[in-house]
Amino acid sequence: MNLLPSLSNPLAWTLLALVPAGIIVLYFLKLKREPVEVPSTYLWSKTIEDLHVNSLLQRLRRSLLLLLQLLAVFIAVIALLRPGFRGQTAGQERTVFLIDNSASMQTVDRNETASRFENAKRLILARIEAMSDTDSAMVIAFNDRAETVQSFTTDRGRLRDSLKRVAITNHSTDILGALKAAAGLANPRRSSEIADVKDIQVADAKPADLLVYSDGGFQTVTEFSLGNLKADYVAMGSSEVNNLAITAFSTERNTERQSEVQAFATIENFGQSTISTTATLTMNGLFLDAEAIEIEPGEQTGLSFIIETEEAASLTLTLDHEDDLEIDNVAYTGLSPLRNVSILVITPGNTPLKVGLETEKTAKICTNSFFPPSYMQTDDYKKRAQDGIDDLIIYDACSPAEMPATNTFFIGSLPPATATEDSTKARFSGNQGAAEGTNAADSGSTATPDVQGATDPNATNSNATPADNPLAKEQNWRWSSPESSVMLIDIERTHPLMRYLELFSLLIFSGRGVEGPPGTVELVGADVGSILAIAPRDGFQDMVLGFEIVSRNSDGDAETNTNWYAERSWPVFLLNVLRHLAGAADATGAPSYRPGETVRVRLESKISNPSVKRIGGSPINITPGPAGSLEIIDTEIPGNYRVESDTKLADLFAINLFDPQESAIAAVKQIDIGYESLTSEDGSIEQRQELWRWALLAMLGLIAAEWCVYSRRVA
C-alpha cells in the first residue's frame, strides 16, 4: 500500500517545498482583518511607518502562530522523508542480492501458492523497500551462468525494475560465477602476490552484505573465499517435498534388428514418500505404451520400452503424477531419420549395381554418381576422396591409388596397400599396376594384373617392399586363394549388412577368397575362404567382395559372373550397404541436450534453408555455417526439436533437464561457500508499519482546520 507518492519524484519535492511557502503567502495575503475604530490613526501611522522598515522580518519573528505552523510543516516534511532506522541488524550499506533462477526454483512447495522464485523476488523486494536512501544494492541472477541484472545503485526504482526483469529459467545451477561477480568490488584483486609487502591494492575494498536466495541445489563451492562479503543464505522452499523425476531417457536401435527400438528411462523419487504412478510413452503424440511404477523415497528405477519403427520418431515419456516440480516429469527423445547418403561408384560398367542402387527405396536415402575408372585420375575425384565428401565409394573391378577418407566397398578388387612408410613406394608401383589394370579394364581388357599379383605377390611385385615385409603383408588386403568357382558356406547373419539376406542359392562362377588386415570380419564364407569381409581403417570401414558381379571376357564384353543380381537378396544387400556402411541408418537415438545449451548439428551441405522447430512451437530459419553446421541457441524449452528442410526431416535432437541436482528440490538448510558454512535464515525482515504517514496526514489536516477556525474567529 503506497498511497503517498514516492519522494524520488522531483515533483513531490517541489510540492513539499511549496507547502511552507504557500502558508507564508497566505499568511500575508490574508484579506480578512478585523476593523477596529480608533480615535485617530495619527500615532498608528507613525508606528506603521516604523514597522514597514522591517515588517516582514518582524512579522515572522513575532508571529508565534506562523512559526508554529511552519514548524509543524517542517516536521511533516521531515517525517515524509522516512527518518528512522531499520528494525534489523544491518551490516554494511551495500547489499548484493543473489537470486537463483534455475529450474528447481520453479518448485511450488506445499502450502504455497507461488513458486520459490516468486517468493524469493517478493523477499528481495521487501528488502529493497526497507533500504534507506544511502544504501546501495545490486542484483545478480544465477543459474548455470551468472547475470548481473543491476549493478550497485541507490535507486530503489531501478532495483525494483531490474528485479521484475529477472525470469525463471530451465537451467541447472552453478553459483560460483555469481559469487565472483558479487565479490568484484568487495574483494578487489591484488596486483601481485599476497606475501609481497610492496603490493598495493588496485582499489579499496568495499564490504557488502551478500544475500543468497536459493534452494541450495548447487554444488558446494570450494574455490572461493567470501573475504569482505558478509554472506547470509535465505533458503527458499521446504525440505518436505514431493518430486518424481525422469533423470534419463534415451532410445537405441537394436543393432541386430534395425526396426526394433529400445527406449530406456531412469526415474527417481526425490520426495519423502513412496510414489506409485504410471509412466506413459507417446510417439509423435500418439499413445504407445504405459508402465506402472512404484518407487521408494530416494530410490530409482529403470524402464524400458520396445518399439517397432524404422522411421524417425519423437518420443515423449510422461509421469502421470502431480508433484512440486513439473519440468522433470516429462522427458523427450527422438529416433534419428535415415540419412541421405552420397555414393560414388567407380565402375567400367555394372548394370545390376546401377539398377540396385536406383530402386525406389534406395533412391530415398542415397544420391549416386557413376564414373569410369579413368575418373580416378582427375582432380575432382582426388578432392572428393581427400575431403570425404561421399559417404561411400564403390570400386567395381578397380582400385584407387590411395584409400579415400570415407568408407569403401570393393567389388572383385582389393584396396591398395597401405602400411608403413617403406611400403608407400611399393604401393605406388602396385598402384601403377592397378591403374594399368583399370586402364585395361577400361579399354576392354580383363583385369588380371591384380589377380595375378594377388596370386603370386612375389612375382607381381618383384621390387615391392611390402610383399617382402611380413608385417606390411598382414596389414593389407590380399587374395587368399586363386580364382575359381565359389560355393558359399557361411553367412554372418547377425551383422547388420547381412540382415534379411538369403544367399545360398547364389551361383558364382569365378571368385577368390580375401584376407584383410587385423580386425577383419568375415561376412560370407566360401570354400575358397572369406568371399565377403569387412575391416576397419582409421575410423572408416572397407568391405571387399571376392568376386565380380559383371566380368569381362577376353574380347572385353561384359559377362555375368553371378546370378546374384537376379536374386531378391541383391537389392536388399545394397540397401543394407547404404544403411550401415554408408551410414544412412544411425543406430543410436537422437542426442539430448540441457536447456540453454548451444546445439551443433552437422547437416549435409546440400540442404538449404534449414529450419529448427520444437514440436508444438514455431519454426525458426537458421543459416547454416561452413561445412553445413548449424548452431542452435534457442533451446530454453524442453522438448523434441526437429531440423527440417522443405518439410523433410534432416535431424532430431531433444532438450531435457536430466539433472538430479535440480530435481532434488528439498531445500538445503546449510550451504558451504569456501571455508564458511551458511545456515539458512528467515528471509523476512521487520518491515515498518507505515502508520506514521497517516498520522502526519492527520496532523496536516488538523493544522489546516486550526488555521481555518482561527481565520474565521478573527474575521
Binding site: 476593523p35 475604530e37 480615535p39 485617530s40 495619527y42 498608528w44 516604523d50 508571529s63
Partner: protein, 296 residues
C-alpha cells in the same frame, strides 16, 4: 465607544473645594471690568503702586497731602487697579475625543466646568466653549450664579464636529480679541498638528495651558492580531498586525509624541498638563492642576 455621562460634570463636594480655589495667571492682563485681579491699570484699589507729580486736571482726591506738608510739592498717590480675568476653556470636541471610558470629551467637559467654576467664583470673565461651531454659542459668564448656564452649555457639547485644532483656535481667536488665560483641553491628535494652534494662542498673548487628555486604551491598546484600524474622524484606515513588537513600537510613538509636546510647550511657556481619563476629576483639579500651578 461613547459613554454618555454616567457621572455629573461637577459633584457637590468638588464644588465646595473649587470655591476655595482661584485660577492662577502667570501674566497680568488688563481686565474689562472691576474685579479681584491686579490689573495693569492704576486704579482705586488699596494696594499702593507709585507716586507722580501733580498736573492740572488730576483728581485732587489722589493728592498725598502728607508729602505736600513735608516737601511742599504736590504728588499724586497711585494705587493698583483690580480688574477681572478673562478665562477661556477650549474643549476639543472632535470625534476622537469621544473615546475611552469615560470618554475623553466627558473628562474634558468636567475639567472645563471645574476650572470655569473656579473662575466664576473669583468673579472672572469665564468663557467655556467647544472648538468648532458650538463655540459660537458659548456664553460669557460672570459670577457664581452663572454656573448653571455653563453646565447647560457643556451638556449641549457633543462630539462630531471634526474641526482641526488650528481651525477651531483660529475661529476662537477671531471671535475673542481679548487676552487672558486659555486652557486647551484636547487629545492633540490632529493630523495637521497641534503646534500651529498653540502658536496662535501664544500670539494672542494668552496665558496658555494645555491639558492633554488621553485614555488608557490609547496608551496601551487592548487589541491584538491582524487588524484594520479605522480613524473615527476621517475614516482613514491602516492595516497592521498587532503583536507585542508592534505595540511596543506604538507605545514608543505615544511616549515620543507626549515628550515632543512637552518640549514644545516648555519652550513656549505653555503649561502642559497630561490627563489620564481614568483619573478622577477631583484628583486632577485638586492635585495635579494645583501642582502645575493652574489653580491654587
Amino acid at each position: 465607544m461613547s459613554n454618555r455621562q454616567e457621572t455629573p460634570l461637577l459633584s457637590p463636594s468638588l464644588l465646595g473645594r473649587l470655591e476655595r480655589m482661584e485660577l492662577v495667571s502667570r501674566k497680568v492682563f488688563r481686565g474689562r471690568m472691576k474685579g479681584e485681579r491686579k490689573s495693569k491699570r492704576k486704579g482705586q484699589s488699596v494696594e499702593f503702586h507709585d507716586f507722580r507729580n501733580y498736573v492740572p486736571g488730576d483728581d485732587l482726591r489722589l493728592i498725598d497731602w502728607n508729602l505736600y506738608a513735608r516737601l511742599d510739592q504736590l504728588f499724586l498717590k497711585l494705587f493698583q487697579e483690580e480688574e477681572d480675568l478673562h478665562f477661556y476653556a477650549l474643549i476639543d470636541a472632535s470625534e476622537s475625543m469621544n473615546f475611552g471610558t469615560p470618554t475623553k470629551l466627558h473628562v474634558a467637559k468636567q475639567l472645563a466646568a471645574a476650572l470655569g467654576y473656579v473662575g466664576l467664583c473669583r468673579a472672572d470673565r469665564v468663557s467655556v466653549q467647544a472648538l468648532g461651531p458650538m463655540g459660537r454659542q458659548a456664553p460669557v459668564l460672570r459670577g457664581r450664579a452663572s454656573l448653571w448656564k455653563m453646565l447647560n452649555y457643556l451638556d449641549l457639547v457633543e462630539s462630531g464636529h471634526n474641526v482641526s485644532l488650528f481651525d477651531g483656535v483660529k475661529d476662537f481667536s477671531l471671535r475673542n480679541s481679548g487676552t487672558g488665560v486659555a486652557v486647551l483641553i484636547s487629545d492633540l491628535m490632529d493630523k495637521q498638528g497641534y503646534e500651529s494652534a498653540l502658536r496662535m494662542l501664544i500670539g494672542r498673548r494668552m496665558d496658555v495651558f494645555v491639558m492633554h487628555v488621553l485614555s488608557p486604551e490609547e496608551i496601551d491598546p487592548p487589541i491584538r492580531g491582524d487588524r484594520r484600524l479605522i480613524d473615527v474622524e476621517d475614516g482613514d484606515s491602516a492595516e497592521i498586525t498587532l503583536n507585542n513588537y508592534a505595540l511596543q513600537k506604538y507605545q514608543e510613538t505615544v511616549s515620543s509624541f507626549i515628550g515632543s509636546t512637552k518640549t514644545f510647550c516648555a519652550k513656549r511657556s505653555i503649561a502642559y498638563v497630561p490627563v489620564r481619563t481614568e483619573t478622577p476629576v477631583e484628583t486632577i483639579v485638586t492635585k495635579y492642576l494645583r501642582e502645575r500651578g493652574v489653580v491654587r
